[in-house]
């Protein structure tokens, strides 16, 4: 079973490379029981979106 540190690492790496089947399974199992890591997963998407908006903003 993954701990939260390992789960957040996989969430992060998932933005750079496709996770393996095993990694995806372990991560999904962890996210089923861990709301905080589920929030982390959403926040990482928000940060990526914000970075793109920020870069293209004219100020």
């Amino acid at each position: 079973m993954l701990n939260c540190q390992a789960a957040t690492r996989l969430v992060s790496e998932g933005r750079e490379r496709p996770l393996t089947l095993k990694e995806r399974g372990l991560l999904r199992m962890h996210l089923l029981i861990c709301k905080a890591c589920g929030n982390f997963e959403k926040q990482v998407d928000v940060i990526g979106l914000a970075a793109k908006r920020y870069a293209k903003r004219k100020d």
Binding site: Q5, T8, A50, Y54
Partner: protein, 206 residues
């Protein structure tokens, strides 16, 4: 030779790409944000971006498409930034940057000894991101959080998330391994979300 801003619907080579005012405007804006955050000096950043763009214009015809051009322009910009920082003696050697960051203390503050979130650090729900994006103050906080990242983490995070370079390109440009890159990006994201939650979404905000 067409003038910039004239019809470039057939823009397939990078010479035409550099004559597209929308693409060029966005590229310049991305470069300027990147350079300003890296150098902490708006005027020096402006100079570095200008030099990199001039370099790109000189060699424009040797590049095939927008993606290749962008990768290449940012590689030039990164070198200009490194040169400028070296002149100011703020950067001794790019390879020494990894040392201190290996001892980055973020992980032990966030997770307990078995790797679970410390209760006060556990991520909470942020709600609809668009609501935050509409507020000018959000971008001030976001910029402050980005600027607060350790230098190497900030550099690779920006290359990945707002220049949108892929893993191989970043590793080759910065001179680090793939696993190093994953470590740096993981820490950068942990720090950024922590900073945003504390200063925008959380109890300490507003």
């Amino acid at each position: 030779m067409r003038l910039p801003g004239t019809d470039n619907s057939e823009a397939v080579n990078s010479e035409a790409t550099l004559a597209d005012p929308v693409f060029l405007g966005e590229l310049r804006s991305q470069m300027l944000k990147f350079a300003t955050l890296q150098m902490g000096d708006a005027h020096a950043a402006e100079d570095a971006v200008q030099e990199a763009l001039i370099g790109a214009l000189k060699n424009a015809n040797s590049f095939g498409g927008r993606a290749a051009l962008k990768t290449w322009v940012f590689a030039i910009l990164k070198n200009k930034i490194a040169d400028a920082l070296r002149q100011k003696q703020r950067l001794v050697n790019a390879s020494t940057l990894l040392g201190p960051e290996d001892e980055d203390e973020i992980l032990p503050t966030l997770f307990d000894r078995v790797g679970h979130w410390n209760p006060e650090e556990a991520p909470t729900g942020w709600g609809n991101p668009e609501a935050a994006f509409r507020e000018g103050q959000f971008w001030v906080v976001f910029e402050a959080c980005l600027s607060g990242l350790p230098a190497q983490q900030g550099r690779v995070f920006m290359m990945r998330e707002f220049v949108e370079l892929d893993t191989g390109e970043i590793c080759a440009t910065v001179g680090i391994s793939v696993s190093n890159l994953h470590v740096l990006l993981h820490r950068a994201r942990l720090r950024l979300r922590d900073c945003l939650e504390t200063n925008w979404y959380g109890k300490g905000a507003r």
